[in-house]
């Protein structure tokens, strides 16, 4: 019995230690986003301090902070982030839904090669393709444009969307279309009116995942933008003015960036497993 009791205490201790490790930095992120310049560098670090909203003001381009060079464009980059993530998500989900349906229902030649090809978008190190994208984008006039970044967001999410949507379509019995076809309806009609409504939840989950990955994307965006099309993560990384790194701004931007992600995470919580494994693992069994 004593051995079991020690085991239980060890487990509680491990959980508490992990909790401190996991949640501590999150608390620190929020606290730091609210600190004034002096408090940020205080030793010992302060837990109680006067709240300074300068970091947030900079992110939203408000107040006196909106005028400073370091914060200029933060709001613009927030707008860029929204445009690029939303448009990229819509297109990736659209293409992924169509391809996922085809891969689920039709045994076309090269189907498994196509699925591997799609999966590769998740596996490729960004920098490896960036060497070429940099050249391709400048010859197509896509460097530093929102259109170019939207194309990148479609690329990074296409495989994810295709694999997840295929998983959801696999869950719909093929009899649904078979019956519709026998009754004289077309394949397209059956797809649009019967199958799509059945995977509505799946489409929403897929969109949630695509949005999160696009929203947090940094590697591509930082190389392919120079001034106009910078997204918030890129802008944050260059918040190193002459006065050093703008820690409060970075932390405030981090908090602002995480809010939509947290909302989407909550909405798609049932499909977390599917999304994080690229649709490889089915729905969670919680």
């Amino acid at each position: 019995m004593t051995r079991n009791r020690t085991g239980a205490w060890l487990q509680i201790a491990a959980t508490l230690a992990y909790m401190a490790f996991s949640l501590g930095p999150l608390v620190w992120l929020v606290l730091s986003s609210l600190k004034s310049r002096d408090d940020l560098f205080a030793w010992p670090p302060k837990i109680v301090f006067d709240i300074d909203l300068g970091g947030y003001a900079a992110v939203f381009g408000l107040g006196p902070a909106g005028e400073t060079a370091a914060s200029q464009g933060l709001l613009g980059s927030l707008v860029n982030s929204v445009v690029v993530s939303v448009a990229g998500t819509v297109l990736a989900v659209l293409f992924g839904t169509l391809a996922g349906y085809a891969a689920s229902r039709f045994r076309f030649p090269g189907r498994s090669d196509f699925m591997f090809f799609a999966l590769s978008t998740r596996m490729i190190p960004p920098i490896a393709v960036l060497v070429f994208y940099h050249i391709m984008f400048s010859s197509l006039g896509l460097t530093d444009t929102l259109a170019g970044l939207i194309l990148v967001m479609v690329f990074i999410n296409l495989g994810l969307a295709t694999w997840i949507m295929k998983g959801f379509f696999d869950g719909v019995p093929t009899e649904v279309e078979a019956i519709a076809l026998v009754n004289g309806y077309s394949r397209l009609y059956a797809f649009r009116r019967l199958v799509l409504p059945m995977v509505k939840g799946g489409i929403a989950a897929t969109a949630g995942f695509c949005f999160i990955f696009a929203w947090n994307e940094f590697a591509f965006s930082t190389i392919l933008t120079t001034t106009q099309a910078k997204t918030l993560p890129v802008r944050v990384s260059s918040a190193m003015g002459a006065t050093g790194i703008q820690w409060a701004q970075i932390c405030a931007a981090g908090v602002v960036l995480v809010i939509p992600v947290a909302v989407f995470f909550f909405l798609i919580r049932k499909h977390l497993l599917m999304g994080m494994t690229f649709g490889v693992l089915g729905k969670t069994r919680s």
Binding site: T15, S22, L23, P25, L26, S32, F41, W43, P44, P45, F95, L98, A102, A103, F106, S112, F114, F116, A118, L119, S120, T121, M123, I124, P125, P126, I127, A128, L130, F132, I135, M136, F155, L158, N183, G184, Y185, S186, R187, L188, F191, N216, F218, I223, P233, V236, I245, I250, C251, G254, V261, R269, L272, M276, T277, F278, V280, L281, R285, S286
Partner: protein, 299 residues
């Protein structure tokens, strides 16, 4: 009505083609075309900075140069070290916590949700956050160390400390992923198997190592391969935390590539290294996909 619907009834073949086409177009433009172009560029000596200078065909010289460069080998070794360290930490922590979360206790689901939070943050912000906390002069980590009577450590200025600092940040962000998958795997084990083990009087350790772990293997292998590939790609954290320094001691292969491509602008050489990286990743992905196929076909 039925008639009009039939009127634009396309054959399955056409529908299939139309449905695959947009995705295929994106894949060809963004994966196949770049890969083929990189293969070609990797045999040239040229720089995008000097478009006036004609590219010179050098055959496999770029590869020869890269593969005989001891510095690049060091970068591969460093990347490998980082991958092994971070994946090991994530799996030890992740499986331990998932094991604890198997039990039913009050607030378990709430705790589980809280544990998922680090994954949601923007990676580049995570890098800066940990750089801020690891600052040697006023960082939180050194403050916590000082509470235990330890002196201030130069976390990011010393290579052997810096790698642990980045491992801490990476493990902080991605251990939740292992927890998520391991929890799913553990919960997926049929109840009667665990009950049978209990009736037979198996010790918790025996049950965990001989029943729980083997039965969870398929999902854990998927988690492992995904974490392996992601750790190999990790670049944002190094960019934000160490910038590859001190010197070039914490530069991963990806980081080195970005330096060759966008620091020195040796485009031909960068293309060759990109091809090498892509081949490694394609190899890893092949193992991954083959494993998946065996898994799904076995079902």
């Amino acid at each position: 009505m039925a008639v009009t619907r039939k009127a634009h009834g396309l054959s399955d073949r056409t529908v299939c083609g139309l449905f695959v086409l947009p995705a295929l177009a994106v894949l060809v433009l963004m994966v196949a075309y770049p890969f083929i172009s990189l293969l070609y560029y990797s045999t040239l000596r040229f720089s995008i900075l000097r478009p006036g200078v004609p590219a010179e065909g050098v055959g496999l010289e770029n590869y020869e140069f890269l593969l005989t460069d001891p510095d690049l080998w060091d970068r591969f070794v460093f990347t490998g070290k980082f991958v092994v360290m971070t994946v090991a930490v994530q799996f030890i922590l992740g499986i331990l916590i998932a094991y604890v979360l198997q039990r039913n206790f009050r607030g378990r689901d709430f705790l589980f949700t809280l544990f998922m939070l680090p994954m949601m943050l923007c990676p580049i912000v995570v890098g800066f956050l940990w750089r801020y906390m690891f600052n040697s002069e006023w960082g939180l980590v050194n403050y916590l160390f000082s509470l235990f009577g330890l002196g201030k450590l130069d976390w990011l200025g010393q290579a052997h400390n810096a790698v642990w600092a980045v491992v801490a940040a990476d493990a902080w962000m991605w251990t939740p992923f292992v927890i998520l998958l391991a929890t799913a795997a553990f919960r997926g084990i049929p109840k009667d198997i665990n009950e049978a083990a209990d009736i037979d009087g198996a010790s918790p350790a025996f049950r965990f190592f001989r029943v729980t772990l083997p039965l969870s293997m398929p999902i854990l292998v998927i988690a492992f391969l995904l974490r392996l590939i992601d750790a190999f790609k990790q670049n944002d954290l190094f960019f934000a935390m160490t910038g590859g320094g001190p010197g070039s001691e914490t530069m991963t292969v990806s980081f080195t590539l970005s330096k060759i491509a966008f620091g020195y602008f040796y485009t031909g050489e960068a293309s060759a290294l990109a091809v090498i990286l892509l081949i490694i990743i394609i190899g890893l992905s092949m193992i991954f996909v083959r494993y998946l196929l065996r898994l799904t076909e076995g079902n």
